[in-house]
Amino acid sequence: AQRVTQPEKLLSVFKGAPVELKCNYSYSGSPELFWYVQYSRQRLQLLLRHISRESIKGFTADLNKGETSFHLKKPFAQEEDSAMYYCALKEGGNYKLTFGKGTLLTVNP
């Protein structure tokens, strides 16, 4: 069963528009969720961790346990935000990460 679902494979917005990348999870315990970003041909980079409640590059994400969601949001998208975004769930004491399939965000000028 899918534990992390990113329903949108592709998302295209215009520069300056708000963007929301959806992530839903399935986990019986207390979830620990992350967003990773992968710019073209580069490594996976940690963007956000829900526990830290910080804002990186203008992105925020709030854990909603009632809706089992951890959507990533940014009020004004920039062209340099174009990348692949992965939602990930930490499972177990070994810190194994279970990734969603990813959403390719394209920000058009």
Binding site: R43, L44, Y86, N94, Y95, K96, L97, F99, K101, G102
Partner: protein, 112 residues
């Protein structure tokens, strides 16, 4: 900023051959991981390694796979007899005592 280094960046091998993918984790990190991503699919966990032994492995990580930390700095993934379906991007990652993974830039393995 410290980086996880993976070599080679791209490897082409014939089916049935052995391959070794190499990783140099961040020097003070204690936990090491391999993940893979088949083209067009999601990133999947393969194995975690701590204190010189495997701490967890996925069902993908069968007897054809092995990991080793031979000299205290390198962390290697060996595939004994490669199959076409092993073609993927392989990511190494390391973690210190906090939550933060640092991923390498990956090795693209192509089995022909």
């Amino acid at each position: 900023e410290p980086e996880v280094t993976q070599t080679p960046s791209h490897q082409v091998t014939q089916m049935g051959q052995e391959v070794i993918l190499r990783c140099v984790p961040i020097s003070n990190h204690l936990y090491f991981y391999w993940y893979r991503q088949i083209l067009g699919q999601k990133v999947e966990f393969l194995v975690s390694f701590y204190n010189n032994e495997i701490s967890e492995k996925s069902e993908i990580f069968d007897d054809q796979f092995s990991v080793e930390r031979p000299d205290g700095s390198n962390f290697t993934l060996k595939i004994r007899s490669t199959k076409l379906e092993d073609s993927a991007m392989y990511f190494c990652a390391s973690r210190g005592t906090d939550y933060g993974y640092t991923f390498g830039s990956g090795t693209r393995l192509t089995v022909v």
